[in-house]
């Protein structure tokens, strides 16, 4: 009985949320943000599966909100360096964000199965600093699912990340490769 009640309440909440959400706006919690850095000292990669993303399939507007302390590294020491005040200072800047639009929305049909190249343009905010960016990606539409895959470089100094001597400066590249993936479900 309690199970039915809670399920009904959860369903009611979802219906209310949807009532105030445009039908074209999709929400995804199935996301993957990865960064990869290569230096003579070592290769470093970190994975984050806790970002939240929205995508408006009519306007092409999208948002990615990335919790910085959710990045996972192979080495615990590198994770501590990544978060520290003299590097990304994630206590002061706990979220990174991408907001923007699909520049070529007219060429993407989210109602028809297929693979569609995408040009993503907008603003990226990391470490409290915002920069315009543009990147190429791809949407794959299959039945009720839309998958996004995009890769682009980020130069950390552009976002006020200092590279002073010592670790992590010599172990992290000045420009890192970022991969963004997301799965959206159409209702």
């Amino acid at each position: 009985m309690r199970k039915i009640l809670f399920s009904s309440l959860a369903l009611g909440g979802l219906i209310l949320a949807l009532a105030f959400t445009p039908a074209s706006k999709l929400i995804s919690q199935k996301t993957h943000v990865q960064f990869f850095s290569s230096t003579p000292a070592e290769d470093i990669e970190a994975h984050n599966y806790k970002s939240l993303s929205t995508l408006d399939t009519e306007t092409g507007a999208f948002v990615f909100s990335v919790p910085m302390q959710s990045f996972e590294f192979d080495k615990r020491l590198m994770q501590k360096h990544f978060n520290q005040e003299k590097f990304l200072n994630t206590k002061a800047f706990p979220k990174a964000k991408m907001t923007g639009r699909l520049k070529n929305i007219a060429q993407i049909d989210f109602q028809k199965d297929g693979a569609y190249p995408a040009i993503i343009t907008g603003e990226m905010t990391i470490h409290g600093v915002s920069q315009q960016f543009e990147a190429e990606g791809e949407f794959k539409v299959q039945a009720n699912h839309i998958q996004l895959h995009a890769e682009f470089p980020i130069t950390l100094a552009d976002y006020g990340v200092a590279f002073e001597k010592g670790k992590p400066a010599k172990n992290i590249a000045q420009t890192v490769k970022v991969t963004v993936e997301s799965e959206y479900s159409k209702n």
């Binding site: 199970k3 959860a10 599966y49 806790k50 959710s70 615990r76 501590k80 978060n83």
Partner: protein, 156 residues
């Protein structure tokens, strides 16, 4: 003779320092992962308490709970299980909280965490231990409330 003794002692001290430094560096470089299951709990509260604290003052709550090096506060949270989701990697995510709140807590688990999530029932009371990674707030760009993110969780 005296000079030789001094030299030997100096060499011995230098060698000891070198070995110790090497050992420290080796440990730092291969530091074991933070064991949340065995670690002390910093705060034992309800999920509702933590959510409301964040929604009241996001910056103050971050200042209180997040650590400079990312090894932030460990919570034991009591809440209702609202739903069971999956992340991009197929790992379970438990959404806990209370139905009447604007945000909830998303609890993520390590890939090597061994637990039968099928035992759980939506609506049941649950006690979860985990590390806070991000707080809850309304995001103007997303136009929705973001959940508290708890990582490396274990079910108590």
């Amino acid at each position: 003779m005296k000079k030789t003794k001094i030299l030997y002692r100096f060499a011995g001290a230098a060698a000891t320092a070198l070995v110790l430094s090497g050992a420290v560096l080796f440990y730092l470089f291969n530091m074991p992962d933070r064991n949340i299951e065995k670690a002390d709990i910093d705060y034992e509260v309800t999920a509702q308490y933590l959510i409301e604290e964040y929604l009241q003052d996001y910056d103050a709550a971050n200042q209180k709970y997040l650590a400079d090096d990312g090894e932030s506060s460990i919570f034991s949270l009591k809440a209702k299980l609202l739903s069971v989701e999956q992340d991009f990697n197929g790992q379970p995510i438990l959404i806990i909280g209370e139905e009447n709140l604007k945000a909830a807590v998303s609890c993520g688990f390590s890939s090597d965490y061994n637990y039968d999530f099928n035992r759980l029932e939506i609506g049941q009371s649950i006690l979860i231990k985990g590390v806070i990674e991000a707080g809850a707030r309304y995001d103007e760009d997303l136009m929705m409330y973001e959940n508290i993110q708890l990582g490396k969780c274990v079910i108590l």
